[in-house]
Each structure stands twice: as structure tokens, then as C-alpha cells.
């Protein structure tokens, strides 16, 4: 378990991380979201022991990262932002180096390195120097070193940044497979990723937590939660038919003949709208319920802080 208590990191007067507290349990995949400069990377750098906190504490399985750094770091696998690695080494040399530092020797080391190479599909570039690799492969080399010692805690700073859709899919599958009985924290600003792999999401802005919950719980905070989208094949004034129905809120026009009917009080309105549509014989071609978009929530909770700048 990771316990983060009142964590603060100041750079001179500026607080990049401001009094942050949260716990992460085994089996959780935590998505760490926030606009650029919100303090995501700084938080990760403090959790992994790269930067020392200005206040508060980080405890990994009972080991305090500042008091017992070696023990705590041994439990963590970390992919820093941009997946840095030693460019003049070949993939296999680099992974051997990491394996040795992680305490593997001899036969065990060879097996472990072979295992991670297979896991992240690096066989084809094992003998190439890292600086000659494409961005996707470099990212995978970074992932390989992070999972070398099968760590209890996996911290990945933007693991899919700059990858093509296939590679992204692959990395996400990998994270899902790894996640069992582990703690995974990934930072990202790709919101679909959170819905795809995370069991929990924290949104931070200006170093503070502004939202915390499962992705579906966060989605339900969206004003589009339970909203009904309707597309018609000819012009028709929907709004007139809906006036006075208590659970139905505003009607937004998206494009010509395409509308979104918002729900008031977060109640399902599908049945009501569908009934009205049938009785009034709307010329419907498409009709579906929205789950709500994480993006809306993200924008809503981070907007104030952005505006204040």
C-alpha cells in the first residue's frame, strides 16, 4: 500500500504539489490526471524518491521514502517521463545492467531479462543500441526496465505518450495484465486511457486533488450523464415537445437535426424521452444515451484554476 500524507513540494515559493493526501491499495490502477503543469510529474518524482518532499510523507509498504529510500525504491518500478535510458547501450546490455542493480545474478538474470524482453516484445531490437530505436521501442525499453523485478508498485509517467494507436493498445493490455495484485499509478492526459485501464482516477490541478473516484463515478459528474442524443432525418422542433417535463433540462443543438437532451437531477430520462418521441412521432434516425464524458468533468474541475492564471 502507498500512503501519501500531506505531501508538499515547493520550488522556491511556488508549490508544485500542495498538501496532497491519498492512499493506493493493491490491485488498484490509479490514473493520475491533470492539465500540463498541474504537478503530476512532480508528485511521481517525489513518490519514487527522486525529489525529496518539502513537507509530508510518502510510505511504500511501510517504508518511508526519505527515511528508508533503498528499501522503498526496491519495491518500485518507475518509468520516468520520456522514458530516458542510456542511448549508447544496446537494449540487452541496458536491461542486463538494470537486472544486476535489481539484484539478479547469473542464470536468474538471463531468465529475467529474457522474460521482460518477451513480455514487452523487444526480441527484434535486443542487439540494437537504444539511441537508434524508434520512439515506441524506446518507450517499451523503459517499460521493460520498470517491470524487471516484478515490482509491487509500478509508477508510469505518461507511458503511452507519442505512441501510435497499436502501440498504445499494446501498452494498455500490458498494464492491465501486470495490474493484478500490484499498485499501478499512471499519469496521462489522454482521458480515454483512464476509462480503458484505470480502476480509479484522481484529477489534480495546481498541486491539489480536485476529483477522486472510479472513472464511471467521475463520468457521472458530467452534465452529459444520462443525456439523450437524438438525430433526426428532417427538421423538427424537439424542444417544444419537452417543455414542462420535470426531469428534462436544456436541449442543446449539436448540428443540424442533431440534439442532446440533458437530464436534470442526474436521473435517467431515456424512458420518458423515448415515450414522447413515439407519441409525437419524431423522425428519428439515431437515439442513444450518453454515459457522460470524462473530458467534460476534467474541463469543469480544472477550469477555475486555469482561469485564475
Amino acid at each position: 500500500m502507498i500512503e501519501i500524507i500531506q505531501l508538499t513540494k515547493k520550488f522556491e515559493q511556488f508549490a508544485a504539489v500542495d498538501n496532497l493526501s491519498f492512499n493506493v491499495e493493491e490491485g488498484e490502477v490509479l490514473g493520475f490526471l491533470g492539465p500540463n503543469g498541474a504537478g503530476k510529474s512532480t508528485t511521481m518524482k517525489v513518490i519514487t524518491g527522486f525529489l525529496s518532499p518539502s513537507g509530508g510523507s510518502v510510505t511504500v509498504d511501510g517504508y518511508d521514502i526519505t527515511k528508508n529510500p533503498i528499501e522503498a525504491k526496491a519495491l518500485i518500478g518507475y518509468l520516468p517521463e520520456g522514458a530516458p535510458s542510456y542511448g549508447d547501450m544496446t537494449t540487452i546490455e541496458f536491461l542486463n545492467f538494470i537486472a544486476e542493480i535489481r539484484g539478479f545474478r547469473g542464470e536468474q538474470k538471463t531468465l529475467r531479462v529474457q522474460h521482460v524482453i518477451k513480455e514487452v516484445v523487444l526480441e527484434s531490437v535486443a542487439q540494437q543500441t537504444i539511441e537508434t530505436l524508434s520512439k515506441g521501442f524506446k518507450r517499451r525499453v523503459g517499460l521493460a526496465q520498470a517491470i524487471m523485478h516484478d515490482p509491487k508498485v509500478l509508477i508510469l509517467d505518461e507511458p503511452t505518450d507519442g505512441l501510435d494507436p497499436n502501440q498504445k493498445h499494446h501498452v494498455r493490455e500490458l498494464i492491465k495484465n501486470l495490474a493484478k495484485d500490484k499498485i499501478v499509478i499512471i499519469s496521462t492526459h489522454i482521458l480515454e486511457e483512464v476509462t480503458a485501464v484505470c480502476s480509479r482516477a484522481i484529477i489534480i490541478a495546481d498541486g491539489k486533488i480536485v476529483a477522486d473516484g472510479t472513472p464511471s463515478k467521475l463520468e457521472s459528474q458530467s452534465k452529459y450523464h444520462h443525456a439523450v442524443s437524438v438525430r433526426l432525418n428532417q427538421e423538427y422542433d424537439l424542444a417544444a415537445d419537452l417543455v414542462g417535463v420535470p426531469d428534462i433540462g436544456a436541449v442543446e443543438k449539436e448540428e443540424v437535426n442533431s440534439f442532446v437532451i440533458l437530464a436534470n437531477n442526474a436521473t435517467p430520462i431515456f424512458a420518458q424521452v423515448s415515450e414522447i418521441a413515439q407519441s409525437k412521432q419524431w423522425p428519428v434516425t439515431e437515439f442513444h444515451v450518453n454515459r457522460g464524458q470524462l473530458e467534460d468533468v476534467f474541463r469543469a474541475v480544472t477550469a477555475q484554476t486555469q482561469g485564475g492564471e
Binding site: F11, T48, G49, E71, K73, E100, I101
Partner: protein, 244 residues
């Protein structure tokens, strides 16, 4: 093998993975040859010793060692690998010493490859080989002193060129500390013990006596303490500056 050894091996093999180590060694050997035989008057002196060879080393190291040292930490910061390295379960001291040792051994290899000069002097005459061994040892320790300064300067900046210039400047100061040019510049009223203390901090004071065959434990101790102090300073600078 401990973490220090693992880091040491990685660093040393990365010197040889690129042309860097080879170019360094070749240039080192060529300039040594020119200094010793052409400018040092190796033959003209008619003496079977390596004094002309060693006496140029401080000036040679002044540019060669910073070239090796400048990337030690500056490149780690620039490429971001410092974040990888320092989040591994190792002590900062293991990283600092491991990197330093790798560069120091590279210097040692370059120095050892000047052995043809030693063979030549043995072929031509009958030198005191003990003095020569002491000279090599002294030279290597002095290179370590330069390197430790370079390690600290490299930790100060992301830019390896700046690290190079800073290292050259500071090394130059330590080289000329014991030289008459600087000593004459002291006004009369400065007490003698201060001048002596100042001289005692210079490289040349210690290197000269070693290269003449006087292997005093105090000179070796001087370089050891000097290296330790600068490596300690490197660790402090890395700790302070890793955030930006």
C-alpha cells in the same frame, strides 16, 4: 558484485562502446609523444629518466581530463537518465564513486599505454625504475584530482561545454598555486605560513616531489583527501540541483 561495481562497469564499457575512449587514448599518446620527445628534449638531455615526460602531465591533463569529466553528470541531467539512476535502489555515493572510478581507470589505461616510452628509456640507458613507477603513480593520482573537480563541475550544469570550461579554470588555479609566478605576486606583508599553506594546496608541489621519486605518504594523502572532498561536493551539488 555491489552496486558500485555494477555502475563502474556500465560506465567504463560505455566509454568503449563509443569512439570516445579510443580517440581520447590516441590523442593522449600522440600529445605525450610530442611533449616528451620534441618539446621536452628527451634525447638532448642525455639522461635516462622520464622527467620531461612527467613534467608536461599537469598541462596535458588540464585539457584532457575535463574533456572526459564534463559529461559525467551533465549528460545524465540532459538526457534525464539521472532520474532513472537515482530512483534505482542505490546510494548516491555509489553512483558518484562508480562513475568517478570508471573515468579514473580510463585515465589509468591511457597512462599505462605510454609504456613504450618506458621501454625506450630502459633500452637507451639504465634509469631508476622505482622513480618511474612513483612518477606514474603520482601522475595517475593527479589525474584523479583533476577528475574529481570535473565531476563536481559536471554536476553543476546540464551543459557539458560549460562544465568543461569551469573545470579547466579551477584545475588551472590548482596547478599554478604552487608556481613561482603566483607566489611572487603575494605582497611582502602576507605571513609566510599563509603563503606556505597556499603553496601546499597546489598540485605541482605534490606532483613534483612524487615525479622526482620521493614517494611521500603525505603527497598521496593530499590527493586522496582532495579527491574525496571534491566527490563529496559532487554528491551535494547533485542532490541540490537534480530538481531543475
Amino acid at each position: 558484485m555491489g552496486n558500485l561495481g555494477i555502475i563502474f562497469r556500465r560506465e567504463l564499457s560505455s566509454y568503449f562502446a563509443t569512439p570516445l575512449a579510443y580517440i581520447f587514448i590516441v590523442i593522449f599518446l600522440i600529445t605525450n609523444g610530442i611533449f616528451t620527445f620534441d618539446m621536452g628534449g628527451f634525447y638532448l638531455r642525455g639522461q635516462a629518466d622520464l622527467l620531461p615526460f612527467f613534467s608536461f602531465h599537469p598541462w596535458l591533463y588540464l585539457f584532457m581530463v575535463p574533456a572526459i569529466a564534463m559529461t559525467l553528470w551533465a549528460d545524465e541531467r540532459k538526457t534525464g537518465t539521472i532520474e532513472l539512476l537515482l530512483t534505482l535502489p542505490i546510494k548516491l555515493s555509489e553512483a558518484v564513486i562508480g562513475k568517478f572510478l570508471a573515468a579514473w581507470i580510463l585515465m589509468g589505461i591511457a597512462l599505462a599505454l605510454t609504456f613504450p616510452i618506458w621501454i625506450t628509456v630502459n633500452y637507451l640507458g639504465d634509469p631508476d625504475n622505482g622513480v618511474i613507477v612513483a612518477g606514474y603513480l603520482g601522475s595517475w593520482f593527479m589525474a584523479g584530482g583533476f577528475l574529481a573537480i570535473g565531476s563536481c563541475m559536471s554536476a553543476c550544469t546540464k551543459n557539458s561545454v560549460i562544465a568543461f570550461i569551469l573545470t579547466v579554470a579551477i584545475c588551472f588555479t590548482f596547478v599554478i598555486m604552487g608556481s613561482p609566478i603566483l607566489l611572487n605576486a603575494f605582497p611582502e606583508w602576507v605571513p609566510q605560513f599563509l603563503v606556505d599553506a597556499f603553496t601546499a594546496l597546489g598540485f605541482l608541489t605534490h606532483f613534483d616531489s612524487i615525479s622526482k621519486g620521493v614517494l611521500d605518504i603525505r603527497d598521496i594523502l593530499y590527493f586522496t583527501v582532495f579527491i574525496t572532498a571534491w566527490l563529496f561536493a559532487s554528491a551535494i551539488v547533485i542532490e541540490m540541483k537534480k530538481a531543475n
